[in-house]
Amino acid sequence: MNIHQPRGDVSGRTLAIIEELKGLEGPLLPIFHEIQHEFGYVPQDCLPVIARELNLSRAEVYGVFSFYHDFREHPAGRHVLKLCRAEACQSMGGDQLAERAKHLLGIDFHETTPDGAVTLEPVYCLGLCSCAPSAMFDGEVHARVDAGDLDALVAEARR
């Protein structure tokens, strides 16, 4: 999912995606999802195109895009590690886990390792409070994560 498409393809593919989905009621979010699926992120060049095709203003499209943290402005690393930072996980050692992850990867939240392997992100509740602390690695949830589990995840990502 982290394939970098050549620039020229972006507007063509975006138009095709918009064409396919614009008949839906409330097509904006499905279009964003599809674009992110296609490119791994939402290239900002797509926003004016979406605005024009849906007859919205650029501001409106940007407002919706920026509201959802999961829509990316830039490509992510090959893997995405999300650590839950919500209350239950914090009370179960989430803070230490976060510090450890940052230390192991040498990056802060919202950053990607220089080799492009991992992007680290905070998330506010994965709905697994009963088995906190929790994490999500490439879309797969992990519960009761301890230091060992985290090291294993990071090692896998680095491979």
């Binding site: 900002q44 007859n55 203003s57 650029r58 501001a59 409106e60 499209v61 940007y62 509201f67």
Partner: protein, 959 residues
């Protein structure tokens, strides 16, 4: 005098007629169903604290300050989003509410700078007011931690802090002061309809964002000022307020730009204008404005303004400053000499659609009673004279039939040859609001204007016709309506002359009027014409709005008649939501026509040959009035070239730039012996003047303007004229110098004379306008409160008149040498010849005229975007830079005419409307080719203009 504070009811008024009674804080209140509790409370004089609510916009419910308690209901609902219900018992102030409100305010203030004393909004800040209202004394959360206020937190860069955006020339955006109430975003969406603003991000990261987190200038913002007006803090603030400080008094007056006639509060500090704020009680604009009226008033204090009268013997001489007395005496002597030498008809005058009714009335009076001829004309000659003629023929009055409020009841709007988002922006915002509510739109225009498609609005039909084929298209629409049995027979039988209708119906039903037949030369696919006709005839209330794209053609008057036919055949006359609505270009072009500015008409559109009318004026003025119509502007110029017309008094019009065939105008003016220009600036016409009389701005005089809906609005003096005298005083002094016994002490006395002589103004007086706010003529015994909508119980002329409208192609045709059609128009930020707007910061949006050309035509000629190109017609040629766009169809090019260096009217020909001589600006056959720079004519002209602006003893006046 004090500052006018308008009551903000928090939410818009409800239109319901069912009344509901409830109790608020023990007081019984009765309001229409659907009213919010907040508004009902304000009605009873109880102000519920609020930050995100404003009666210009729908309730939003985000600030959580307007909470109330309702007996028997749990919780604390927001009063802005909770509608009234019978028998509710509402409390707006309880100990619990006070605690909650104070808590909310603490949160707001914990992320807001505490620089009230040095803040530009000090004294005009709702956040400050609310902090006071809820009794905020302390902020328990402190000011440390995450914030948007400080550039640095303990030495570290604060990523949440954003610098001020000063990109817009008129206002600043300071994110540090923003409380994210969304009022600006909603004003941009709901009031202006541009949707340029949004809230970016979420939670604590939420920020007001212009476009895609751009600066305001790069975003879609059109600088209407609605967001600035809506902002409760100093986040969005006029730069003038930052510079000057808060105003201390305000005066309600009327904007002097377009024919919408917006009411503004001129907010003053002493004689200094701090800002113009649209007035909510203004019945044309309902509290909205555009970039011109709101911000572009800087020309009134521009250094180019000429403040002393000037004289010169020859136009090649430098100007010589003289006293007013000298100037008056000189003009009086010259005009007397010319009349003695060349005859009574050798002089004339031009009234201004930019001046007040009273001033216009005086100029035509000076011509009729002083010069003793009817050689008076006005700039309406070059814009809406066909409207006067066409509607006069069909309906019996020469004006639009509706008020602007009418658009709120329209189901299908037709826009023909008008670009309201640029030319009449406040009306466009009102129309767009109605379109977003579901009304349909048909646009007939060669160019894809913004109203055809822009965020949240889209025309059901855009008929991109070839310039010059209006009549063919409109007759085709009528053909479809008649042949498909969509005519409103009941209306026609009751209101119109049936036999004339039958004659007309058989005419339009001829097969050669069918859309299939006209498609060949209009270029509009037949199915679009059929679809549009069916929609207009069957879609409910149909209203037609049109502009100069209709009138400025060789068949301008015919097109107006065709529009009247369409309205009558579908029964769309005489009630709210329908009608024929000319969008008048200038603030007082309606008024200048009403005041008898045409050579054949005395005030109130009464022909000079009518003995009774003449007698009225003759008795009052004590002179005999000629019963022969005088010369129109083009005739004056022709006569000047022929040597029979030698002197002219031109008030507030730049005919050299605005009238067609510039070279002919220049030759005409050059042939005269005394050209008197009365204006703010040394305009282009003044290059050919012998006498220059300094004019005054709308801020410097009392008077009235009449807008496109026939509304007579007061103009009020807010500062002393910089040149010393209001324009009406100058005209009066001139008349006195010519031996006339005029002694008006105030414009109200002139209005009294108008009312006494003109039946449609019979009840109008300054006292009455003070009482009513404004009135729409006719305002007389029969219509004491004025006439928002005309022809309610029947047409003014009796029966509505259907007139055959045969399409005759203009003589201006394309051919091998001139294969493209040029049409012209305006842009939002500039106004007409630009004499005013070019002298404001509006130039940042439009610094030069560009030629819009379709990519296909551009490629054929090897023209790239931004290239210098030569634009040539049979009349002349000029150069300007290209703008490649598919807004125009292949074969059509378009330009604006705001800049004198472009000289777009060097290109236009002297073809004109068959009935009224209104020039055919909208169709000129041209050729376009690459060029290296300005043409010889442009260079010669620039040099001549520079020479002619020299003032003896002064440095050259810069244009």
């Amino acid at each position: 005098m004090s500052l006018i504070h308008e009551i903000d009811y928090g939410t818009p008024a409800s239109r319901s007629e069912t009344m509901v009674t409830l109790t608020i804080d023990g007081r019984e209140v009765t309001v229409p169903e659907g009213t919010s509790i907040m508004r009902a409370a304000m009605d009873a004089g109880i102000e519920v604290p609020k930050l995100c609510a404003s009666d210009m916009m729908d309730a939003f419910g985000s600030c959580r300050l307007c909470l109330v308690e309702i007996k028997g209901r749990g919780g604390m609902p927001a009063s802005c989003t909770t509608p009234v219900a019978p028998g509710l018992e509402v409390s707006t102030q309880t100990p619990r509410l006070k605690d909650v409100r104070r808590g909310v305010m603490e949160l707001y203030i914990s992320d807001h700078p505490l620089d009230c004393l040095t803040c530009a909004a000090n004294g005009d800040c709702e956040l400050q007011d609310m902090a006071g209202a809820v009794g905020l004394r302390d902020v328990r959360y402190g000011y440390e931690g995450d914030n948007h206020v400080k550039a640095r937190n303990n030495g570290d860069i604060n990523a949440k802090w954003l610098p001020k955006d000063e990109s817009n020339p008129y206002f600043t955006y300071d994110p540090a002061k923003c409380i994210v109430c969304s009022r600006c975003v909603r004003a941009c969406e709901e009031v202006q309809g541009t949707f340029a603003l949004t809230i970016g991000g979420r939670g604590f990261d939420s920020r007001v964002s212009a476009g895609m987190a751009e600066d305001f200038m790069s975003s879609e913002c059109v600088s209407c000022g609605a967001c600035v007006q809506a902002c409760p803090t100093a986040t969005l603030t006029e730069k003038s307020v930052i510079e000057i400080g808060q105003p201390e008094h305000s005066v309600v007056t009327t904007c002097a730009y377009c024919g919408v006639g917006c009411s503004f509060k001129a907010e003053m500090r002493g004689e200094e204008l701090v800002r113009m704020v649209p007035w909510k009680d203004g019945q044309a604009n309902r509290g909205h404005s555009c970039v011109k009226g709101r911000f572009a008033y800087g020309y009134s204090t521009h250094k180019d303004r000429i403040l002393n009268p000037m004289i010169r013997e020859k136009i090649s001489d430098p100007w010589r400053e003289v006293t007013w007395e000298e100037a008056y005496a000189h003009v009086a002597a010259e005009f007397r000499r010319i009349q003695y030498q060349y005859g009574r008809d050798s002089v004339g005058g031009i009234t201004s659609s930019r001046c007040t009714n009273e001033e216009t009335y005086l100029v035509q009076k000076l011509v009729r009673a002083g010069f003793r001829n009817n050689n008076v004309d006005t700039c309406a000659r070059v814009c809406h004279s066909p409207t006067g003629y066409g509607l006069g023929q069909a309906f019996g009055t020469s004006a639009g039939t509706q008020n602007f409020d009418s658009v709120e009841f329209t189901d299908v709007a037709v826009i023909i040859g008008a670009n309201p988002t640029d030319g009449h922006p406040v009306f466009a915002s009102r129309l767009k609001k109605r379109l977003r509510e579901g009304a349909k739109l048909i646009v007939i225009d060669p160019r894809r204007t913004d109203i055809v498609r822009s965020p949240h609005i889209e025309a059901s039909y855009h008929l991109p016709l070839q310039p010059g084929t209006n009549v063919a298209i409109l007759t085709s629409l009528a053909h479809v309506i008649v042949t498909e049995g969509l005519a409103n027979e009941a209306f026609i039988r009751e209101r119109c002359d049936w036999s004339e209708y039958e004659d007309w119906a058989s005419f339009v039903a001829e097969p050669y009027h069918s859309p299939e037949a006209t498609e060949a030369y209009t270029g509009v696919p037949a199915d679009l014409v059929r679809g549009a006709a069916r929609l207009f005839a069957t879609g409910g209330n149909g209203a037609i709005y049109y502009g100069l794209g209709v009138t400025e053609h060789s068949q301008g008057s015919t097109t107006v008649m065709a529009i009247a036919n369409l309205a009558m055949v579908t029964g769309n006359i005489g009630r709210p939501g329908v009608g024929v609505n000319p969008l008048r270009g200038q603030n007082n072009v309606q008024g200048s026509c009403d005041m008898g500015s045409f050579p054949h008409e005395l005030p109130g559109y009464r022909h000079v040959s009518d003995d009774a009318t003449r007698e009225t004026f003759e008795k009052l003025w004590g002179v005999e009035i000629s019963n022969e119509p005088g010369l129109r502007i083009p005739n004056m110029l022709d006569a000047a070239v022929d040597g029979t017309f030698k002197g002219i008094y031109i008030q507030g019009e730049d005919i050299l730039q605005s009238d067609p065939d510039t070279k002919h105008v220049a030759n005409g003016l050059a042939a005269m012996e005394c050209v008197v220009v009365h204006d703010l600036f040394l305009n282009e016409t003044a290059n050919y003047a012998h006498v220059f009389l300094p004019g005054s701005t709308f801020l410097e005089k009392d008077g009235t303007f009449t807008n496109a809906e026939r509304r007579i609005n007061r103009v009020r003096k807010v500062m002393t004229p910089k040149n010393g005298y209001a324009d009406w005083e100058v005209t009066q002094k001139l008349a006195q110098a010519m031996g006339m016994n005029w002694n008006y002490r105030h414009p109200s006395e002139i209005m009294d004379e108008i009312a006494a002589t003109t039946p449609s103004f019979a009840l109008v007086s300054y006292d009455y306008l003070e009482k009513m706010g404004s009135v729409q003529w006719p305002c007389n015994e029969k219509h004491p409160e004025g006439s928002p909508i005309m022809h309610v119980d029947g047409f003014v002329r009796g029966k509505g008149k259907f007139i055959r409208t045969e399409y005759v192609a203009t003589d201006e045709r394309t051919g091998p040498r001139f294969p493209l059609l040029l049409t012209t128009g305006r842009i939002l930020s500039q106004y007409n010849v630009g004499a005013q707007t070019r002298r404001t910061d509006n130039v940042v949006w439009h610094a030069e005229d560009r030629l819009e050309i379709h990519p296909h035509d551009a490629e054929q000629r090897g023209i790239r975007d931004g290239d210098w190109i030569r634009l040539a017609s049979r009349a002349g040629e000029t150069t300007l830079r290209s703008l490649i766009t598919d807004r125009v169809a292949p074969g059509v090019v378009y330009t604006t005419f705001h800049h004198p260096t472009t000289q777009a009217n060097v290109i236009t020909t002297d073809f004109s409307d068959w009935a009224t001589n209104c020039p055919e600006y909208k169709v000129t056959a041209v050729q376009v080719m690459p060029s290296n720079g300005p043409s010889d004519w442009q260079q010669d002209y620039d040099e001549q203009a520079r020479q002619s602006r020299r003032i003896a003893g002064k440095l050259e006046a810069a244009e």
